[in-house]
Amino acid sequence: MERHFDEQLQGLKSHLMKMSALAEVMIADAVKSVVERDAAAVAPVYEREELVNHMQIEIDEICLTLIALHQPAASDLRFIMGAVKTNSDLERLADEAVNIVQKAEHLLKVPQLKPFEVIPEMATIARGMVRDSLRAFVNRNVDLAREVLLRDDRLDDLKAKMSEVLTAYMTQDPAAVPCALDLLLISRFLERIGDHATNIAEVTIFVVEGLDVRHHADQQRLTHRPHAHV
């Protein structure tokens, strides 16, 4: 029997999808403002942040009401708890996009320090992780969630590489320090976006399998669980 409650869960899912789509565009615009030195890409990030903040409150209200009115159990309960956490991760990763444009606003006023290679790649990975972690969450797809977890390592490596390169610039030329610091922070913000997507992927595994894989608490973080919980 299809429950009316399922329709409400579906509504919650579409809200999360919408919020994640907003966040993704924010990341794209924020990185564009840095890499293409496009000042016009700055304002939309701030505008979308307002929308994301609004959605965060709305989604929390939906979750609170669903818990209060339906006393969900088992996978329904795990899903709603997961939605609360995902909601918070989405809001925070959208904030990272805002952090990036704040640095862009400074970088736009000074000459470009070096050609951009690593940042566009980091941005592509981070955006993909956001999109796929959310898709994994709403579609209960643990394979995709585990794949997202793997991609986070690449993002961490790129961040380390960036750090190395920028340290070299700063050592050679003290005048490069302000710009290099901004770029270093931008790579840090992109890495944090990946961390939030990782959280969402881990929550997905918890929601589907009832298995807590945070902080490598379980060796099965990247392996299949033979019997998914209901």
């Binding site: 029997m1 429950r3 009316h4 009401t65 209060a68 339906h70 006393q71």
Partner: protein, 254 residues
Amino acid sequence: MSGIDTVISVRDLDLFYGDFHALKRVPMAVRARYITALIGPSGCGKSTLLRTINRMNDLIPGVRVTGSILLEGQDIYAAGTDVCALRKRVGMVFQRPNPFPLSIYDNVAFGLRVAGLTNRRRVEEIVERSLTSAWLWDQLKDKLNDSALSLPLDQQQRLCVARLLAVEPEVILMDEPCSALDPIATARIEELMLDLKAKYTIVIVTHNMQQAARISDYSGYMLLGEMIEFGETAGIFTTPKDKRTQDYISGRYG
């Protein structure tokens, strides 16, 4: 909450059973095509209030009612009210399923025949439509001549709903309709109610707070004959305004 979509408007309703003051200046506005739930501990007056809406309390000796209940603007306690016509517009489902000891078909057709409908084709159509609306047609279409009493309880309860739907009521009153049913049968009745609210206004009395939370759009919490708090169910169950409501819904009552 007054306005065109308020179908039932209860104002300053007092009800006495002899000397016992069972309802105390109760207000309530029921919106059309929503589910309104009445909750509260035993003896708080919720069933009494429900029964005032189709004047079922008239059958109890020594009952006195003051105040008013407007059904689409007409006071149902006004002199000259046709109570039978009222009960056709405001139907009721009871705690225990109470099908007549007749066939399934005759149960649903009963109200139509009482109303003088003799066209057999027409009766058949309405029986089919009513059983379909109560999610019974597919299961029962081949045994319409079986006794209604042979059905399992939850089908009996849905048959009682179908019997009501046949006479096309505007409002359906339900007095603890699931209290005799197991959780699966309860879930079926609840889903049915959510389906029916597209066309009907439903007022339900329930001892099961979670049921009120799951299915109703508006809830009223009653205590000792008073309407303590009335409002949107989501608000009542997440941020009640009255401490007594808060205590009851969080299980701290008593």
